[in-house]
């Protein structure tokens, strides 16, 4: 099943067989047909490792995500997988479980055997990123660092819209539930703070929380203790956790407290009440990131200028509503 057998059977040299599979137009029709049938008869398929060794490229891409089973990551991964396959690349996936050390290790390991690497919300230090970028082309999602191409979403503005939305509904005290430290959290936080101060709202912050449902459940009680009427959560999962726990404690959403999430994962439409959330075009970001990455891989030095920005937007659903008229000020708003 090596190229030699095929060559022998077709009565040509190995070079010709190789060319049939890599630059078919460089081979005469007749010869190509002979080679093809020989290859089929022998069930020949080129050996990727040998090819990678000889050409110096693997036709593989890699992606490192914080959590494989997180809905947002999963959607990105799916889009990346699609796009990569469409372009003839296979995809390595590695999850870091939010552990910075694992993230770096995985990334370095993959870097050896891919033509390019995609890092989703990487949390490793800047110099580690730069070192990685020296090994292989990389593109980041949701992280900004000079010299490394990235795909970002302009959450700043959309976060402002979320706060404005709450303000318009009469809310004056609002808390932000922080997610894991990093660019993604920073930009939300900036948007939140700036909008709150611009609108004269009383802003507070809690966290950081893990970007998961259970962390949201835990956060809910802290939220209640903070006597606010509105919550902006780092992502939908936390938001849903908050909503659930509040309901369990008899607090109505949005009757008593309004909740806003981020990501607009499928979840947002599945829960009760449906979640008001800032939509991040995850699939589009994945696709764009692959395209950027392949531009790099293929030598087009695109995107090294300013990072590609996608627009996020507030999706208003049912988890936000008019602020409750403050009666028992300073008290628990429980029924």
């Amino acid at each position: 099943m090596s190229i030699r057998k095929v060559a022998a059977r077709a009565g040509v040299s190995t070079a010709t067989v190789s060319r049939v599979f890599t630059q078919p137009q460089a081979v005469a029709d007749e010869t190509r047909r002979r080679v093809m049938t020989a290859a089929e008869e022998l069930h020949y398929a080129p050996h990727p490792a040998a090819s990678a060794l000889a050409r110096g490229r693997t036709c593989n891409l890699g992606i490192v995500v914080p959590d494989v089973s997180n809905s947002f990551s999963a959607v990105v991964t799916k889009a990346v997988d699609r796009q990569a396959r469409r372009e003839g690349y296979a995809l390595f996936v590695a999850g870091s479980d939010e552990v910075v050390h694992d993230e770096e290790t995985s990334a370095r390991a993959l870097a050896q055997q891919v033509d390019g690497l995609l890092l989703v919300s990487p949390r490793m230090p800047d110099d580690a990123l730069l070192a990685l970028a020296d090994m292989t082309p990389i593109v980041m999602l949701n992280r900004l660092l000079d010299g490394i191409p990235a795909v970002l979403t302009n959450l700043y503005e959309a976060t402002g819209h979320a706060v404005e939305h709450l303000h318009a509904l009469g809310h004056r005290t609002v808390v932000y539930l922080a997610g894991p430290d990093g660019y993604a959290n920073d930009v939300r936080l900036r948007g939140f703070r700036d909008a709150c101060s611009r609108l004269g709202m009383e802003a507070s912050e809690l966290g950081p929380f893990a970007a998961r449902f259970q962390a949201g459940v835990r956060a809910a009680d802290l939220v209640l203790a903070a006597s606010v009427t509105a919550v902006v959560a780092y992502n939908d999962e936390i938001a849903v956790g908050v909503v659930n726990r509040l309901s369990d404690r008899g607090i109505g959403v949005p009757a008593d407290i309004s909740v806003v999430g981020f990501d607009d994962t499928e979840l947002a439409e599945m829960v009760t009440p449906r979640l008001t959330t800032v939509r991040i075009p995850a699939a589009m970001a994945g696709t764009a990131a692959v395209e950027l990455l392949l531009d790099l891989v293929r030598g087009r030095d695109a995107g090294l200028g300013s990072p590609r920005e996608l627009s996020a937007e507030l999706v208003v659903r049912s988890s936000t509503g008019p602020a409750r008229v403050a009666r028992d000020t300073g008290q628990d708003p429980a029924p």
Copy 2:
């Protein structure tokens, strides 16, 4: 940055350098240290493709799932990724988007460059599977085929428990919402039918539906038209879709209709009412599958006997309740 440079710098042969990285104990301490420092100074890292070519194994595993962003698949993938990494393997992921042809293509493509392949709920024909198994070791999740090792969950029994549960609550008419054709659906269906006939319940079936939320939404109206008091859905996503749409139409769950899902994804705890569902130990299945696969890869001919069975169990939550006393029989049970 090749092994030769390191060898030169450390004053040894390439063979020794190679041994330092693959069988350290075969090299004298002093020599090993010299090689290691030389390697570090040169930032040397072994070239996976070259190694793969020379040894005939890649130290990569692959997984093909129906849908990367489906919660169940994602959990399996995550577990597989963990376990694979722990064992020193990197992981390829490919999603088939439920398209049989893509599934086969992806699987074949990956087969070339992995030491073993994991197929989650594969839907390709038997002979395609056998052909694949000829190319590389494979292990399947949720599919049964003689001669190919697999990890299964004994849903049959647990499905029976779900039906019994509904029966005990007074339900007498129940509909099963089928998912995509295949082993996974078959075993649920068998469990459902057998239990219904055993308990003398009136069983009907609808579908097949795609294993997604929106399909569940669509299914809900069909369910209503079927005048049943209980629904068993192929998976949690469909179940949640049903619940949501029923609520929108003013039908109470479980007051008017009870709903059971499958998988016990995180979703089940996040929605209102919390979903009664058959728990499938996805993470455990992923881990077990990797272990089985690595046994094969390493030549231990384990598991070729009977497939490994994991146990599923019914988790009762709030989406199932006493059947409504039939008053307006044959009518829409809408309020």
